[in-house]
């Protein structure tokens, strides 16, 4: 109540649009954020409102509605005073009080109308055209699905197969039907291999994407609690992701054998890949450091000396799968080795860099428990003056939130010397895990993540290894 009047600042329409943009125009997270916000002056912290065409249009609309409300309130109150009618004055005051809610909720109406009348039909048209393009395309289609590690797997496949064949892959996070379709529309038609990342946020998301793409080969990176808040149960997550198995032959299905949930839910068929190898391809001499990971992959006389810029032994499995898929497609071992050398750490994903004499591993795009586990295993092995672990925790873990974070706390306790937790709703759970494993290092609870990140140079020194995992956007708390 103390900050109620922060809704009357001129910046309020921009703040509402920022919240809408930050929640990717999703109704429930947006409304949830609006309802729990006290002081609207403090919402925009991490980034700025991106003024897209849609945002500009909505901003003009909101400002017009704001102006109309202001005129209405003023006119009503003035009329009430002039006619000495208390009801009009009271009506004006009530209208002034509800005006911010009219704006925050009324904003959704033009958005919904725009979506139904413009965006949806446009998207349908693009998807229809893309389906035709893909039906006629002669290239081999590989799909990557899973709760985590999709981008790394996709980029590794692109690098390895691309070294010997003309290959295209969906860029960035374009892993929805419309994203894949836009990618398909840009294809030249002469590609020998197409790689698609399939995104899943809700039950049965994968099947329509697979129907659109019609894959020849599928790679499942793993299954975990990501987006559990939407899926409600791990059974549904697993069924959604493993739906890709229905679209490929068993021998063309590659499953991460290091994911316990993949092993638990997989049907018969499919090849399990891991740090040990895949099928009759075996891994030996695997080692990892800040500069990358090395191993030898062999099958009889055939040998691939792999060297990538990825860090952590957990990357070996997916690298092996990419190499074996490349061999199956006819890429020579020499070209595969060349391709592997070009695999670098991806931006914000276990990306190491030197920072004032310390090693800083940026894994802020990681948002899943398996990634946390892999990162902590790597941190534990580092010979450092101080092993510093920084995290806000994970989002969208549904009813597993407590369990997942207590487990993370336990893992941190045995891997780090200094722990920096960004204070939020899961901090207590991580601390429970730390207590359970009797963590004896230094624990810092930081209320202002941005302040911490911008002053990181004050915290670190030569000889430190800092692992920063996950980063919550403004809409999470």
């Amino acid at each position: 109540m103390k900050y109620y009047f922060s809704r009357y600042f001129l910046s309020y329409p921009r703040v509402l649009l920022y919240m809408l943009q930050d929640t990717e125009y999703k109704l429930v997270p947006y409304l949830d954020w609006v309802h729990r916000t006290d002081d609207f002056r403090l919402v925009i912290k991490r980034r700025k409102l991106v003024l897209t065409k849609k945002v500009r249009l909505l901003l003009v609309t909101l400002r017009l509605i704001s102006f109309a409300l202001f005129v209405s309130v003023t006119a009503t109150i003035i009329y009430g005073i002039a006619t000495q009618n208390g009801w009009w004055i009271a009506g004006g005051v009530v209208l002034a009080l509800v005006a911010p809610f009219v704006l925050s909720h009324g904003l959704l109406l033009p958005l919904y109308i725009g979506y139904i009348l413009i965006q949806k039909p446009q998207e349908r048209r693009i998807i229809r055209k893309a389906r035709k393009v893909l039906n006629e395309h002669q290239g081999v289609r590989i799909v990557v699905a899973g709760s985590y590690g999709k981008t790394t797997a996709k980029e590794t496949l692109l690098s390895v197969i691309g070294a010997g064949m003309k290959t295209a892959a969906t860029p960035g996070n374009m892993n929805t039907a419309i994203g894949i379709s836009r990618f398909a529309m840009k294809l030249k038609g002469d590609e020998e291999v197409l790689i698609f990342e399939l995104g899943e946020e809700r039950e049965d998301d994968i099947r329509p994407l697979a129907e659109l793409v019609q894959p020849d080969i599928a790679l499942v990176t793993g299954i975990n609690e990501s987006h559990l808040v939407n899926f409600k149960s791990l059974n549904r997550t697993a069924a959604t992701i493993l739906a890709v198995a229905d679209f490929v032959k068993p021998e063309d299905l590659y499953l991460n054998g290091e994911s316990s949930l993949v092993r638990k839910y997989k049907q018969s068929g499919g090849q399990l890949f891991s740090q040990k190898g895949v099928g009759s391809w075996k891994v030996t001499n695997a080692s990892t450091a800040m500069t990358g990971t090395k191993f030898t992959l062999s099958k009889g006389e055939q040998k691939i000396r792999a060297s990538t810029g990825l860090i952590g032994l957990h990357t070996v499995g997916v690298t092996v799968a990419a190499a074996v898929i490349a061999i199956k497609l006819g890429v020579s071992t020499k070209k595969i080795e060349e391709g592997l050398k070009n695999v670098k750490a991806f931006e914000h994903r276990m990306e190491p860099r030197l920072f004032h004499g310390a090693w800083l591993i940026d894994d802020t795009y990681n948002g899943n428990s398996d990634g946390v586990k892999a990162g902590l295993e790597f941190l534990k092995e580092q010979k450092a003056k101080r092993r510093i672990y920084v995290t806000p925790g994970l989002v969208e873990q549904g009813d597993k939130t407590q369990e997942v974070h207590e487990k993370i706390g336990e893992q941190i306790a045995t891997s780090a010397d200094v722990v920096v937790l960004m204070n939020n709703s899961v901090t207590g759970y991580i601390m429970n895990g730390l207590d359970r494993k009797k963590f004896e290092g230094q624990l810092i609870i930081e209320d202002d993540p941005l302040f911490f990140y911008t002053n990181l140079d004050q915290f670190v020194a030569a000889g430190d290894v800092v692992l920063m995992q996950n980063d919550w956007t403004d809409n999470y708390r």
Binding site: G357, D457, Q458, F459, A461, A462, G463, D464
Partner: protein, 377 residues
């Protein structure tokens, strides 16, 4: 419970602005980031008005006209000496002087804090007085068997009374090239390198403009300049030996340090005060000898908390000379400490601990005793 730390900075000194940088960037920020302290900034203006306020913790305040407005509006701080120090009704647990040069680093502030009976960071009054006097510190070093370059000194009054005679006296005692320095100023202000009698005369005149005491030193041949940051009380420890990079025949003056950013040299790393080689690559055992000499100086002068010892090395003769000591290095030389594995947050925390440790040791000493002396009358 969080401790309250008062950070003193600014002051009537030629290094006023550098003090602001040290205080805001290298003291206040890490103290607050450590989550262990409540920080009270005490800014002393060039006109000697003492002010405090949250806005003083932000460097942007000083980069705009905001600071003038703030100084004008602010009431002077109220200080209470109540067997301790209370500033604007807030009891101070530890004082953190972040003032360079006159009044701050020369022992003046330390004397005040000592009398107030509050723990304070850095060297005590007596060591600060010696450290900030280049003549005294060299005399102390010599008395402790630490080599220094040959030097002579004179007062402003002596020079004013007989400028030519005094110049000749100094020139006769030493061999060119010579360095003329104000005896108490830091940051290399007023320093001139001279090779003739005329130049010497002019240089003394310039130095006398800044200080009452002037020191003239012989240059060291085959020179390598290095600096060694040190922290601690009874058992001090050194960071890394650092070699500031300057052009041949030049020296590390104020402009090079703070204005030109040191002048970039290939292969050099950026330090807080320009470009330097860190750690310094020195032939033979000179690295270890430099650390040894620096620690010996630190102990001989009686420094505590933090300091930086500057040394001159004759590369051919393989000899390390003590040059001067800085009891509060600009920026706390945090870039060097960070390279040595000590992050800024840990550095300021250690310094506060050293302050409390020394305070406890001093307070254990008996300074009064009961007597019936006055009752006789």
């Amino acid at each position: 419970m969080k401790k309250t730390v008062a950070v003193f900075f600014g002051g009537q000194s030629t290094e006023h602005d550098i003090s602001i940088m040290t205080a805001v960037g290298s003291v206040i920020k890490p103290l607050e980031l450590s989550k262990k302290y409540i920080v009270i900034p005490v800014y002393i203006t060039k006109k000697n008005k003492w002010v405090t306020g949250t806005a003083l913790k932000d460097i942007k305040t000083y980069q705009s006209a905001k600071i003038d407005e703030l100084i004008q509006k602010s009431k002077p701080v109220q200080v209470t000496f109540d067997n301790g120090l209370t500033i604007n009704k807030q009891k101070i647990d530890v004082a953190f002087p972040a003032m360079h040069g006159s009044y701050g680093e020369d022992g003046s502030l330390m004397g005040l804090l000592r009398m107030a009976n509050v723990p304070f960071v850095g060297s005590d009054m007596d060591a600060s007085v010696i450290a900030m006097d280049k003549v005294l510190s060299k005399q102390v070093a010599e008395a402790n068997g630490i080599p220094t370059s040959k030097f002579a000194f004179l007062s402003r009054d002596e020079f004013a009374a007989d400028p030519k005679g005094q110049t000749k006296r100094v020139a006769k005692a030493l061999v060119y090239p010579l360095f003329v320095k104000p005896a108490h100023l830091g940051s290399s202000i007023g320093i001139t390198r001279v090779t003739t009698l005329d130049e010497l005369y002019n240089a003394i005149e310039v130095a006398a403009f800044y200080d009452e005491k002037i020191i003239v030193e012989e240059a060291v041949n085959n020179l390598i300049e290095v600096t060694v940051p040190i922290i601690g009380n009874e058992e001090p420890r050194a960071a890394l030996v650092e070699r500031p990079l300057v052009t041949a025949g030049d020296f590390f003056d104020f402009e090079t340090k703070y204005i030109n950013g040191g002048g970039k040299k290939s292969g050099a790393k950026s330090g807080a005060q320009g470009y330097s080689e860190l750690p310094a690559t020195l032939p033979g055992k000179l690295y270890d000898e430099s650390v040894g000499v620096a620690l010996k100086v630190y102990k001989a002068i009686g420094l505590s908390g933090i300091a930086r010892v500057d040394l001159l090395i004759d590369e051919k003769a393989k000899k390390v000379y003590f040059n001067e000591v800085n009891p509060l290095p600009g920026d706390l030389y945090r870039h060097n400490w960070r390279a040595a594995g000590v992050p800024s947050v840990m550095l300021v925390d250690e310094l506060v601990r050293y302050a409390e440790e020394r305070f406890a040791t001093r307070n254990a000493l008996q300074t009064t005793f009961d007597s019936s002396f006055l009752r006789q009358f």
